[in-house]
Symmetry: C2
Subunit: 445 residues, 2 copies
């Protein structure tokens, strides 16, 4: 293992109250982290002390689950959270090295506003921000933005392609040295270094220029997680980081190789696209402790939450026992589309609860074990080219996170996989990504 691969990227993918749906009920866990800024500041500082590359905040502009079913809503611990751009701006002010990746939708925003906000946070943070590009799947969001129903999938992705092109174009409104600020002569800016975008396309007409100087990173880091064909195409063209849900190594290897091939076909350096599967680790100091924590979490999932989460996908199972077999429900439109998945679960003899558990965590790999067990899986995937790192999804706070930072991260460092310290001060630099030169400099160079 002497020439073993190094440079493992570790992000923290965090949601209010933890990634496990019962995380907020875990004994000793804080139940009110969702709008507690002091909690998130502590979390960011703790993660920074462990040299985590970045913290990632998923987002949707709606209460996406349970809003139409009051009795399910009562028990769903994921309703309220900070708006991520305001949150990461505040966290950037409280930290110095760790990066922040926040989600913003290309369906419910305007590119000028998004270009400006990320450029602004990039200057506030000294170059530590990333944008997770999403097209927003939920019907609840559409209804908050003047629509009866979501835009068609292909339309959303066409809009996303153009949106990202406009945003990166606006970031290049000014060359890096455009602002002279010469007090003696009174020359504030060199107009020869201004590049007005003047974009006119299918979805957007945006003149520019941006009223923010070029971002510290040139372009903030771009992340993308779409798994569909157009999603992968968008990622291959534009993304620095690709988030993905993968259950096994072979599929992850194939996904990563495919994505890098697509990026190469787009004329990009495949090394410049980092693929990061999510992983939901339930860690213990011993295997028995990890299993006990897992059991506790499972038992704390309120039955109504299980039925409510399964219903939109599989149909109403609430007349059947949670720990009994998956019922043979009458076919509905919902069931039809994923009948194979349901049949497979039934063939494996899963209970309703187990169906929920395997389809939970957004399809991300879950692992229950010691730091060594989790490090073994991470090392195996990383060394065998199944990923460039992982998005760690702490199931609950605080121990569900701090044990990862105190036990798992040092183990990964001991194995020579994870860095001892940040390489630089910007997120790009720490991820091993180059700073994109301004197009005018590319032409001149």
């Amino acid at each position: 293992m002497s020439t073993k691969r190094t440079g493992l990227i570790l992000g923290l993918s965090v949601t209010a109250n933890g990634s496990h749906s019962a995380g907020w009920r875990y004994p000793g866990a804080p139940a009110d982290t969702s709008l507690d800024f002091a909690f998130w500041r502590d979390l960011a500082l703790t993660a920074e002390a462990a040299k985590i590359h970045f913290i990632f905040f998923a987002d949707g502009a709606a209460v996406r689950q349970g809003a139409d079913d009051p009795e399910a809503l009562r028990y769903i611990g994921k309703i309220d959270q900070f708006e991520p751009l305001t949150l990461i701006s505040a966290l950037a002010a409280a930290t110095t090295r760790i990066g922040f990746v926040a989600t913003a939708s290309t369906t419910y925003n305007e590119p000028y506003a998004i270009a400006r906000k990320y450029a602004s946070i990039d200057h506030i943070s000294g170059g530590r921000v990333g944008w997770n590009v999403v097209t927003s799947w939920s019907e609840a969001e559409a209804k908050n933005f003047n629509l009866e129903a979501s835009l068609r999938h292909d339309l959303r992705y066409r809009r996303a392609q153009e949106f990202v092109r406009v945003v990166t174009g606006l970031w290049d409104s000014w060359e890096d040295d455009a602002f002279r600020r010469d007090q003696r002569s009174g020359e504030y800016v060199d107009p020869a270094k201004l590049h007005v975008l003047d974009h006119s396309g299918e979805f957007f007409s945006v003149k520019g220029p941006l009223n923010v100087a070029r971002p510290v990173q040139g372009h903030p880091v771009i992340a993308q997680a779409g798994a569909s064909e157009p999603g992968q195409q968008l990622a291959a063209r534009t993304a620095d980081l690709v988030y993905t849900a993968q259950q096994d190594k072979a599929a992850a290897q194939a996904f990563r190789a495919g994505l890098k091939a697509r990026a190469a076909a787009e004329g990009r350096d495949p090394e410049a696209v980092k693929v990061l599967p999510g992983i939901l680790p339930i860690i213990g100091r011993t295997a028995a402790e990890a299993r006990a924590r897992h059991r506790t979490l499972r038992e704390l999932v309120h039955p109504k939450v299980i039925y409510a989460m399964l219903e939109p996908k599989f149909g109403d199972m609430s007349a059947h026992a949670l720990d009994g077999p998956i019922p043979d429900l009458p076919e509905t439109n919902g069931i039809k589309s994923i009948k194979g998945q349901l049949d497979a679960a039934r063939a494996r003899g899963l209970t309703i609860r187990e169906l929920y558990e395997t389809s939970g965590a957004g399809g991300h790999r879950q692992i229950v074990g010691t730091a060594d067990d989790i490090a073994d899986l991470i090392e195996d995937w990383f060394v065998d080219g199944a990923c460039d790192g992982f998005n760690l999804m702490p199931p609950y706070f605080r121990a569900g996170l701090t044990d990862l930072l105190d036990l798992l991260v040092p183990e990964l460092r001991r194995r020579g996989l994870f860095h001892a310290d940040y390489a630089g001060t910007t997120l790009r630099r720490n991820l091993g990504l180059t700073r994109p030169p301004h197009p005018a400099a590319r032409l001149a160079g």
Copy 2:
């Protein structure tokens, strides 16, 4: 003067590089404050130490002046700045008591996004945020948001009325005690305390609920500055703070009385609407020092900036000497509409430079003098009911601000006009405004 009015409100209205167009060139002033976060953090902490009520950030989503004229742009020191919502989030994390009011447009945003962002910052800051509602006048902004030209004025204000109604409705999505977070029973939220907005109007269809708990202040403070008839109507209906440009006391008294009468006619408590004129003070330890500072600033305004700023309003004067008389230009559409203003300036014998100076500062009152001189004017207006306080507009940094905080503010405090300390922890409380109860509580109560 023993029963003299107290409770003077002081905001700081700040723009990158100071409010004077040559502020960035002032000897010893930093020329690069626009994207220097450490500068703004220091400024906020300094203002907080002086117990200033809030810092106000004006904004536009475009380079609004000079973008079409490269040679004017070169010398205009107001091009780049932080996006204000990201900036105030970061500043909120660095402070504990001072408020922050940031501008956001009702023409180029969606109400769900705005409701969320201000609610989020209100939770981050512990209740210290305000929203300055603008409808965006500039053509440059329209061109950044898919339009050829700005929406008609009346349409913009109709949209603004509906926009504010939707935002405040979304802030009331949840009653104050809706979130129970009871770990034992698993009840996270009480669905009986959810109020889905289900808004459908002329401009917006927004279902709700907001995915943020009710703001700390109930509703973040709302500021408004429209001087037109629909602008004043919007302010009377919705604003807690009204910004205004006033040159003399009698006009300010009339404006304030009129606005309070309108608010009363809308069924609001007129005391709950605070009118704050802007004032651009050029302060010195002696009158001579103040005059010298003023002279220095005037001389640092680049001639091209003067001609470029006058041109859209009055026509091209660049063939005439700055310190010579205002020329009798051929009438244009631009000149025709404000011919009276120009004739009056000519009758007073103003030079081109003086015309620029009197029409500069956005029409706000400028005063050159000692702390005593400025305090005299503030006291006179405040005691005589011309205002509820002022927005101080520092012309340059740092002395142009710190001298205000070190000399003027203590003088206002000595006179018993300005508070010795913050009354509470929220902006509403410090401004003497009540926290709006939730509509459900109003019904029940």
